[in-house]
């Protein structure tokens, strides 16, 4: 197997495995993606990961696009496609199968219990994602202040996140980060 085919299959296996446990969406598995690509595989540094995440947030589309960017960083365009398909494929098959009996489960007590049990865990994982990204991105007191202001803006106002990112990029250019 050539080196690039080997790399692509590694990307496929890593993201397919993550796909099955992405309860609550891609934001829940960001710390795990970070752990795998930075600590386990050594494909990039923690700071590079935070940069890719910022790019993914500026672009349109599902948050899941961070996966395409990570794939691109590791193995170019082919890496982006393989990572996207691997991250979405297994969970989509699970979803298709689950949908077939979802109607039967609609009134079931177990589904309500599961939903109530998973919701706070998913929120905890989203906060863990923010914490992981903040550790990776905040290398100065200025950057830390950016993180706090952006968090407050999202939590307590209805401002469009894209404006927050653009203002932060501008302030960064001015040397404030």
């Amino acid at each position: 197997m050539s080196a690039s085919a080997q790399l692509l299959s590694e990307i496929a296996v890593r993201f397919a495995a993550l796909s099955f446990i992405a309860v609550g969406g891609i934001m829940s598995i960001l710390p795990e993606i970070h752990r795998v690509v930075v600590d386990v595989e050594g494909w990039m540094t923690s700071a590079q990961f935070a940069e890719l995440f910022a790019l993914a947030q500026v672009a349109p589309g599902p948050n899941a696009m961070i996966v395409a960017l990570v794939g691109w960083k590791v193995a170019g365009v082919a890496g982006a496609l393989v990572a996207t398909i691997a991250a979405c494929g297994p969970s989509s098959v699970v979803c298709y199968i689950a949908w077939h009996w979802a109607d039967r489960l609609r009134q079931s007590k177990m589904r309500a219990v599961l939903q109530r049990a998973l919701a706070p865990i998913a929120i905890g994982l989203i906060l863990a994602s923010g914490y992981t990204l903040a550790l990776a991105a905040d290398r100065s007191p200025g950057a830390f202040a950016f993180t706090l202001v952006a968090a407050a803006a999202l939590a307590w106002t209805r401002v469009n996140p894209v404006w927050v990112l653009l203002v932060a990029a501008g302030a960064g250019m001015a040397g404030l980060a």
Binding site: I21, I29, C88, Q115, T132, A136, A150, A155
Partner: protein, 188 residues
């Protein structure tokens, strides 16, 4: 006042493959900073394929299942119109533009990444992007107001995965068992 519709008259039954693709293409195209608000606007307000209540129920299901929520939504809406082929069409529609745009942005980024000005801009944006996710978590927490048992499992998830960086799979298995048991006992 609207008449109760018979089940067979779901508007989804008449959706063509082209309409399906176009609708999800639009969601992917417009979804800056998250697709979900656009998904609701297009599926409920514009196309009238779903009612608000059906949409909320579907999102609840998509959140319980693993995988990106909007991709799961695409799978189900696609399946209800054209079976497995419909699912593939909807996923393709919602991911087509974002993946293409992402590759363009990535190429541009690679060509300017060493410029000091670009480095500073990216440093600012990535610090803010971390804040956006923290803020989203806080917002969800404020709106859902979980009971003490939920705060315990959520807090444990934050510490185990964020601070201690433990592997997600085992944390999830443990927390789901504990969380489901606690909810089950509380609902008796």
């Amino acid at each position: 006042m609207s008449e109760p519709e018979p089940a067979a008259a779901s508007p989804l039954a008449d959706v063509s493959r082209a309409e399906l693709f176009a609708s999800f293409l639009k969601m992917g195209l417009l979804g800056f900073g998250g697709v979900l608000p656009w998904a609701r606007r297009i599926l409920v307000d514009e196309r009238r394929w779903l009612t608000d209540r059906e949409f909320a129920e579907l999102i609840g299901l998509c959140q319980v299942l693993p995988g990106p929520n909007v991709v799961n939504l695409s799978v189900i809406i696609g399946a209800r119109t054209h079976g497995p082929i419909g699912s593939l069409i909807a996923i393709g529609g919602i991911l087509f533009v974002p993946v293409g745009v992402m590759l363009l942005i990535a190429t541009f980024y690679a060509s300017v990444a060493s410029e000091p000005l670009a480095r500073n801009a990216i440093a600012g944006a990535s610090a803010a992007a971390a804040g956006l996710i923290l803020g989203t978590g806080v917002r969800l927490l404020r709106h859902s107001r979980p009971p003490l048992r939920g705060l315990a499992t959520g807090g444990a998830a934050l510490v185990a995965v964020g601070v201690l960086q433990l592997p997600l799979l085992w944390v999830l298995v443990a927390l789901i068992v504990v969380g489901v048991a606690a909810e089950w006992l509380a609902s008796r």
